[in-house]
Every structure is written in C-alpha cells, then in structure tokens.
C-alpha cells in the first residue's frame, strides 16, 4: 500500500466537457492533497525521466490532468493511485516521443548539494547510475514499492499491469538493482 492505505478501484466518469466548469476538487482539498503528494511525485518523475526540468513540467501537467479528470475517489489512496497513473502515462508518452528509452541521463539528478558528506554523495551517485541502467518499468516498480511503499496491487494498477505478473517482475528488478549496486553478487550473499 502507499505507505498506509489500501487500494480498491477508481470510478471514472470521463473528462469534463466544459472546461469552465469548476474542478471536481475544491481549492482547499487540492492544496492539502498537493502538499502531501507533490514532493514524492516529483521524486518519482525524476527517477522515471532522469531529468529534473522535465519532471518539473510533468509535475504540473500531472496535477492539471488530475484536476480535469471528472473522477470520484473513495479515499486518499484512490486519489494517489490516479495521480501516479497519470504521471506514469505522461512520462511514458514523453519517453516515447523523445526516443530516450535506451538510457536515461544521470548527470542531472546525481548532483547533491554541498554540505552533504562524501559518503552520502557517493551512495546517491552509485544509486542513480544503477537505477539509470534499469528499464523504465523496473525503475517505476522499485520506486513505487520501496520509496512509496505501494502494494503489489497498487503498483499493478498504477503501471497497468496484471497483479499476478508483478511479483516476478519485482523480483527480477530487485535482483538486477542489487547486482548493479554491487552489494549482492549474483548467487552470493550480502
């Protein structure tokens, strides 16, 4: 689950025909939801795209599309799943358009501001390099599972996968990242 809640489903009624109509969510609710989710979503988008500037743009586009979607949600997790699904689809579309699927630049997200200790900087750089060598879907699965604490079912819902296929995918992605991080050699112990 996304840190603390459980997924069920989202009832979608399509996109609002009249854009001048007010959004389904009022301003106060939106702002509170934004404060809770924007930073985590931005980090997810940076990991997916490998580009901070692009992540900035996609963040705003994601929230706009989220507001325009005439959907009703049973709870916070539904909202959050919908938000991440929009972000995932946007990042996927951009990646296809830019034909950048082969590799993601790491230069833009490796930078850690001065003041951090050298060990932390090195760990972050290693991690970013290792992540950049994974497939975009593997990055998304690992980030949702371990950074967002999403359940298998939620991850499958966000990424448009069958829940049954997620377990082996997560296993393979995790194995690959562990090997790339150099902490667990293939077939070895930590």
């Amino acid at each position: 689950m996304f840190r603390e809640t459980v997924i069920t489903g989202i009832r979608r009624d399509g996109i609002l025909d009249d854009a001048s109509a007010s959004f389904m969510m009022d301003e106060d609710t939106f702002r509170a939801f934004y404060e809770r989710t924007a930073r985590g979503l931005w980090a997810y988008l940076v990991r997916l795209t490998g580009d901070r500037q692009l992540a900035d743009d996609l963040l705003q586009e994601t929230f706009y599309r989220f507001l325009r979607a005439a959907a009703t949600y049973d709870n916070e997790t539904h909202r959050r799943n919908s938000l991440y699904r929009i972000a995932t689809n946007l990042a996927r579309d951009v990646r296809r358009r830019m034909a950048r699927a082969a590799s993601v630049s790491t230069g833009d997200i490796e930078h850690v501001p001065s003041g951090k200790d050298a060990g932390a900087t090195e760990r972050m750089t290693d991690f970013t390099r290792a992540m950049s060598r994974l497939k975009p879907r593997e990055r998304a699965i690992l980030w949702l599972a371990y950074a967002e604490g999403a359940s298998h079912r939620e991850i499958a819902d966000v990424l448009g996968l069958r829940p049954a296929s997620l377990k082996p995918m997560l296993f393979r992605a995790r194995r690959r990242l562990a090997e790339l991080l150099g902490r667990v050699p293939r077939g070895g112990k930590p």
Partner: protein
C-alpha cells in the same frame, strides 16, 4: 521453479523502512537474511531506494500549491474559451452542405415554376449569340474591375477558410 518471494520479506522490508535494520531486529531475522537471497536483495535495494527517496524529497523544490491551482484554473478557462470560439466543425460543414443539396433537390423536383424557368434558361442560352456580348462584357470589366476582383477573392477565400477549419478540426 525458483521462488520469487519469501515469507519473511515483508518483515525484513518493514525493518529496513523503519530504520530498525540491522541493529534493532531479532538475531533470527538477521541470520535468515544472511542465507536468503531474496531478503538480502530486499535489504540492499529497499535501503538504497529509501535513502534516495529521503535525499530527493529533502531537496525537492515544487511550485506553490496555490500557484498550481491558479494556473490550472487559467488553463481550463483558456481551453474552454478556445473550444467555444471554434467556428464550425467539419461535421457541421458536411451537414449544412447535405441540407442545402436536399432542399435544392426537393425544390427542383416539386416546383413547376422552377422547371419552366430552367427550360426557358436552357432555350435562351441555346439561342444566344455569345460573340455579340463580348463588347458589353469588356466594358463591364473595365468599369467594375475592382468589384469583380473582390468577388473572385471571396469565392477563393471562403472555400479556403472552410478547408482550414476542417483541417484544424
């Protein structure tokens, strides 16, 4: 078939995410992780991802929520205005052309006046000596050339405008 999950996986993950790993977990769990490839991967990967998450969230600079809301409102209004200001759709053009054609056909088929006028026009054209009209036409063009040019421009511009509208649709 090689297993892809472990019954202790969730416990190990919880320990990592709650910063209890490795000091504040039972010795049994540590021993299990030492021999379980899956749980060892979970420790390595979940710890690294969680650390990266904390780093990134700490330095994330996202726009103010009020600004995002305001920009979304502005954009929604702009899109609504654009949608309302769109002149005609391709379907509307087609429907109008069909309606005019149908009305003309009905009128032509049912009106005795129209049919007699059509016959008179045809017989008049057949009897007309076009060469005799040439001096008259030349004089008309010389006198009303600008008007004719304007009409010709309208005849060209209107279909072009309809075409461009359909293209945009």
């Amino acid at each position: 078939m090689k297993p892809v999950d472990c019954e202790w996986e969730s416990e190990v993950l919880a320990a990592v995410l709650q910063n209890r790993w490795p000091e504040r977990v039972e010795a049994g769990l540590r021993m299990h992780v030492a021999v379980c490839e899956i749980c060892a991967d979970v420790v390595a990967v979940a710890g690294a991802v969680d650390h990266a998450r904390e780093e990134m969230r700490a330095r994330a600079v996202v726009p103010d929520s009020g600004r995002v809301w305001w920009l979304a409102q502005m954009r929604a209004r702009r899109e609504a205005t654009q949608a309302a200001g769109r002149p005609i759709t391709a379907a509307q053009v087609l429907a109008l052309a069909c309606a005019i054609g149908l009305l003309g056909a009905c009128f032509g088929a049912t009106s005795a006046w129209f049919q007699s006028a059509l016959r008179w026009t045809a017989s008049s054209l057949a009897a007309m000596k076009f060469q005799a009209l040439l001096p008259f036409a030349a004089g008309f063009v010389a006198e009303h050339g600008a008007l004719l040019l304007g009409m010709a421009a309208i005849v060209l511009v209107v279909p072009a405008a309809v075409y461009l509208t359909m293209l945009r649709e």
